[in-house]
Amino acid sequence: MKKIICTLIVAILTVYAMSSPVMANSDLSIELISPSGANARPIYEDTVVSKITNNTNETMNNLLVYITIIDTKNNIAVAVDEYGSTVDKPRKIDTLAPGETVTIEIPIRFMYVGEYELYTSVMHKGSDTVISSSPITLVMIGDSNINTNLVMAVSIVIPVILLVIIAWLYMNQRKRRNVK
């Protein structure tokens, strides 16, 4: 019975920790304010807003905030430079006073269809701490009006037409040479 109760408590605590929008340790916390998620068509543009709070009584220096994007369908952590011109550049917070909160905005741009998890992290060089926010899910749904039958037809017909024209020109050239 004790085992079951302990397991239940651990499970409840784990679920609570996972569902919390803010990931924090005692010193530093980061919260991803917006967007809360997205279900859109590429090209999807938005600004990721994160709130970073210094929970200590001391000033923190040299904080870096950055984005991580995971393509869950292909199971890869993507190269973020393809998701906006400045996404790969960590935002620097020079000084964060005790109890102070700053907001960092990072524009993103999704061009590819897929399912992504995005979260922001803050790294404090002084204490070797890295804290990440809870991830948000971004689903980029297909935006293709490509007529596959038409594309296939063109892909087959054009080379065939060219081949016929080339063969005809080639034969004509050979005939002329033979006449001469």
């Binding site: 590429p42 061009m111 590819y112 897929g114 490509i146």
Partner: protein
């Protein structure tokens, strides 16, 4: 320009230089790409606007490639086959010879463009980008064609061996195109940023994104257009200067 010479160039480019096979190869290349886009899941993750852009970029690059290869063999081939002498004895100026050869090469580039057109159209149907893509390639693509055509013809005048001329032309094309595919790495250093800013192909691709996807204003696109225009003018100047040095084996 001399019409007879242009006809001769076109015939040579089409038959002797196997230009017709270039056209077929281009169409087969596009066909394979299109079939991959519609059949392979990993490639179908691209938004349609991106697919159209990629097709247009490949079209521009292939036009530039064919122009470079054909242009770099023009004068060298005449010299190696000892036909340059008779060409120069004809009552036409050196400038006319160069310009006629340039037109001959450009027509092949335009034919490659025409072959790629149906593919761009079917890939772009429904996006509203087809017309803009065609206009973009017609204007900026033509500028690039003239630029690379002039460079390759200039090199074929100055370099005595056809192999060396074609090789140097291809290296120049690759060097000028590399920043377009490595912009992320190059942007790390000041030198890289500079190279990225002056690369004609890189600027063409950026301008294409700005025009087709981002739909930026014309004033915004000027920053990309100016380097392309300067590159074209320098290339034309290079060909005009090289033309003065046309000489058959052993000098004039």
């Amino acid at each position: 320009m001399n019409k007879t010479l242009i006809k001769k160039e076109l015939k040579e480019n089409f038959y002797a230089s196997k230009g017709m096979w270039w056209l077929l190869a281009t169409s087969l290349f596009f066909s394979v790409l299109c079939l991959l886009v519609i059949n392979i899941k990993e490639l179908s993750f691209l938004a349609q606007t991106e697919t159209v852009q990629y097709a247009a970029k490949i079209g521009i690059f292939l036009c530039a490639l064919v122009t470079m290869v054909l242009g770099s063999a023009t004068f060298v081939a005449e010299r190696e086959e000892s036909t340059l002498e008779s060409l120069m004895l004809a009552p036409i100026s050196k400038m006319q010879i160069s310009l006629s050869k340039l037109v001959g090469v450009l027509v092949m580039g335009v034919l490659i463009y025409l072959v790629s057109l149906p593919y761009i159209i079917v890939l772009g149907l429904g996006t509203g980008l087809v017309l803009r893509s065609i206009i973009f390639i017609a204007i900026i693509g033509t500028l690039l064609l003239v630029a690379y055509g002039c460079i390759s013809i200039g090199l074929s005048i100055l370099i005595p061996s056809s192999k060396a001329s074609i090789l140097i032309s291809l290296i120049l094309l690759i060097v000028s195109a590399v920043p377009a595919f490595m912009s992320g790495i190059l942007n790390v250093s000041a030198l890289g940023k500079f190279i990225n800013k002056i690369s004609p192909i890189s600027n063409t691709f950026k301008m294409m994104s700005a025009m087709l996807v981002e739909q930026q204003s014309i004033s915004y696109m000027v920053q990309y257009f100016v380097p392309i225009l300067i590159f074209t003018l320098i290339s034309v100047g290079f060909m005009l200067l090289s033309t003065k040095k046309i000489a058959f084996k052993g000098g004039e």
